[in-house]
């Protein structure tokens, strides 16, 4: 097979994958909450090149989010407590989806709710919306007291939510897991059993930062979620554990900044990756990671990305 990467960017057959029934032209997606609704990046990034876009998490009603300050930079990372601010389901369907529909990139809608019933309603109402390839069910966002961590930290609650969504959604559902648990394999197995078509991990690690001069927390919410290169080794370990626990596809997330970072996750068994915080630092990060992965495949004689997935050599 001849290398035709740059001449047909993003359409190399060796990069295309199928995740839980969603066809992606490459295994690199923009992570939820780091890429807005796509429109924020369109003047800089060719959205058609991306493997997929996970939109900013949507709740049934618009949410205001937390009081600022909401972010703080820490060593090789950042902590955020955005508080799931979003435009709400109605505005999402009316104002955001039509824009995204014009691109040849699958859109996966991230959803979250405070109750299983809210998850069900979100799944139902998004089910027949054209232009949505699947759902990412956020059971792990640590920022909002009444949702998120409650579901993601308890295998029974996680199971209930996933089963509820699965019954209402005909499209594939990916469940995004929280790292803030004692044993990720218990949650991974629970959501697999409940019918998840795939899992993605990790969400942010709960974290905190203090200003010693003022003795005040640097976030108004006191605690937030850590992301960026600082969390990559932890994320990789959790992905590795999840890969060994379930049969469904695993999507690796956590501190991916470079093609090499993405390759680590893929070699550990993730069949795709999501790029998050890197989008803030370099808006074109996803595209550069896609090109870098493809160059690696060519250089190392791989005919297809799937040959690399889970190819970790264990002594």
């Amino acid at each position: 097979m001849t290398y035709e990467g740059p001449k047909s960017p993003g359409h190399s057959p060796r990069m295309s994958i199928d995740i839980a029934g969603i066809k992606l032209k490459n295994p690199v997606m923009a992570a939820s909450g780091t890429f807005g609704y796509g429109e924020e990046f369109v003047r800089i990034v060719d959205l058609n090149r991306l493997g997929g876009i996970i939109t900013k998490g949507i709740s049934i009603k618009p949410m205001e989010g937390n009081s600022p300050p909401r972010i703080v930079e820490t060593a090789s990372g950042m902590i955020n407590s955005i508080g799931l601010q979003n435009v709400g389901l109605q505005a999402f369907i009316r104002d955001k989806v039509p824009f995204l529909r014009q691109f040849k990139t699958p859109v996966i809608a991230s959803i979250f709710g405070g109750t299983a019933g809210e998850f069900r309603e979100l799944a139902k109402r998004l089910d027949d919306v054209p232009g949505i390839a699947g759902l990412e069910v956020n059971i792990s966002c640590p920022n909002v007291a009444k949702g998120g961590v409650l579901f993601g930290a308890d295998p029974k609650m996680a199971h209930l939510v996933v089963r509820t969504v699965k019954r209402s959604a005909h499209r594939p559902i990916i469940v995004k897991l929280s790292p803030n648990v004692t044993d990720i394999t218990l949650i991974a197995k629970a959501v697999e059993e409940a019918g998840a078509d795939g899992i993605s991990l990790i969400n942010t690690l709960m974290a905190m930062a203090v200003d010693p001069q003022s003795r005040r927390p640097l976030l108004d919410n006191i605690i937030g979620g850590l992301s960026g290169p600082a969390i990559k080794p932890v994320a990789l370990r959790l992905v590795w554990e999840a890969v060994n626990a379930v049969q469904i596809p695993v999507i690796g997330i956590g501190g991916i900044m470079t093609p090499e970072d993405a390759l680590e996750f893929i070699i550990a068994g993730a069949c795709a990756v999501q790029v998050g915080t890197a989008n803030f630092v370099n808006p074109n990060a996803c595209v550069e990671i896609i090109d870098g992965i493809e160059a690696y495949l060519v250089k190392n004689g791989f005919q297809h990305i799937n040959e690399l997935v889970g190819s970790l050599r264990i002594p």
Partner: protein, 304 residues
């Protein structure tokens, strides 16, 4: 070779159709022309960029990548201090005036002429210039002067009369006096310790100045929150339109991360019985997108 190609060839390949539409923002590679210290702990950086001159408006900002390493991670936002169109019409020279406050700005201060810089911009909404002919009052506090000089340049080009007030803790923090004088503006200075000009807060100086002014057209302020609050109160009590430029911790600069929001008094959508209506009430606005320049009336100053 073109001296300012886009930062990565790949990025350029992927965006020419986008760039043609104009307006930006652009992700570009700039070249550092100079980076001198202007006074202790303040530096001024001049950067040659391919960003079209006509796409940059006073009050907008750029995000500069500090490092290719993971730490410091995030880009740093800087207001565009001044701008000049290149004779070739192939871009613009922009200046950034910055204060050394932490790891990122310390690194920046060590950068030498010729360094390639990864610049994202122009970003945000700048000052509105749909204003009355009359005296325009520019008020800068400390490093806030960085955010107002481009506005002064524009006002001069439009033939508007400017009065500039510059405040700081001590005379070492009074910036850009000669630059503003070079624009033909009358410049007033205030220091908290009285080491230069009026002794006291710049806002007090502005208040008494406005009392004697028959036709103040608009206030434009950039500086610490306390100063902006005082200026907003003065503007309100004297019914003078006032625009303020705000700062915030920021991750993306593009409106995606929602990290830089401030509380405003704006309307918010409220849904009831299947209908969405707009109700007066607090809402968050993004400093990077709806700002950094806001009408002072919009802001909920109690929450800042």
């Amino acid at each position: 070779m073109n001296s300012y190609e886009t930062i990565k060839d790949r990025s350029m390949n992927s965006s020419p159709s986008v760039a043609k539409e104009g307006g930006g923002p652009y992700l570009v590679c700039g070249t550092l022309l100079e980076n001198p210290m202007v006074v202790s702990s303040y530096h001024k950086m001049r950067i040659r960029t391919p960003i079209p001159y006509e796409d940059i408006h006073p009050g907008q900002f750029v995000m500069v990548r500090i490092s290719e390493e993971p730490f410091p991670l995030l880009r740093r936002p800087f207001s565009i201090h001044s701008l000049r169109e290149l004779r070739t019409k192939e871009g613009s020279d922009i200046e950034i005036l910055y204060k050394i406050v932490g790891k990122g700005t310390n690194l920046m201060a060590s950068w030498k002429r010729g360094k390639r810089l990864d610049i994202l911009g122009p970003l945000g909404k700048g000052f509105s210039l749909s204003i009355n002919k009359g005296v325009q009052v520019l008020i800068a506090g400390g490093i806030g002067a960085a955010g107002l000089f481009a506005l002064g340049q524009k006002m001069k080009a439009l033939g508007l009369q400017c009065s500039v007030f510059i405040g700081g803790k001590t005379k070492e923090h009074i910036l850009c006096v000669d630059e503003f004088r070079g624009l033909g503006a009358d410049v007033h200075m205030a220091t908290e310790d009285g080491s230069l000009g009026f002794r006291g807060m710049v806002s007090d100086m502005v208040r008494s100045f406005l009392h004697g002014l028959p036709d103040p057209s608009g206030l434009f302020a950039c500086g610490p929150v306390g100063m902006l609050k005082s200026i907003a109160e003065i503007a309100k009590s004297q019914s003078i339109p006032c625009q303020v430029s705000l700062e915030s911790r920021m991750a993306c600069g593009l409106g995606a991360c929602l990290g830089c929001v401030i509380r405003t008094k704006g309307e918010r959508p409220v849904k009831s019985q299947g209908e969405t209506r707009h109700e007066k009430g607090a809402s968050y606005k993004r400093v990077c997108k709806e700002g950094p320049v806001f009408n002072s009336e919009e802001i909920d100053w109690r929450k800042i």
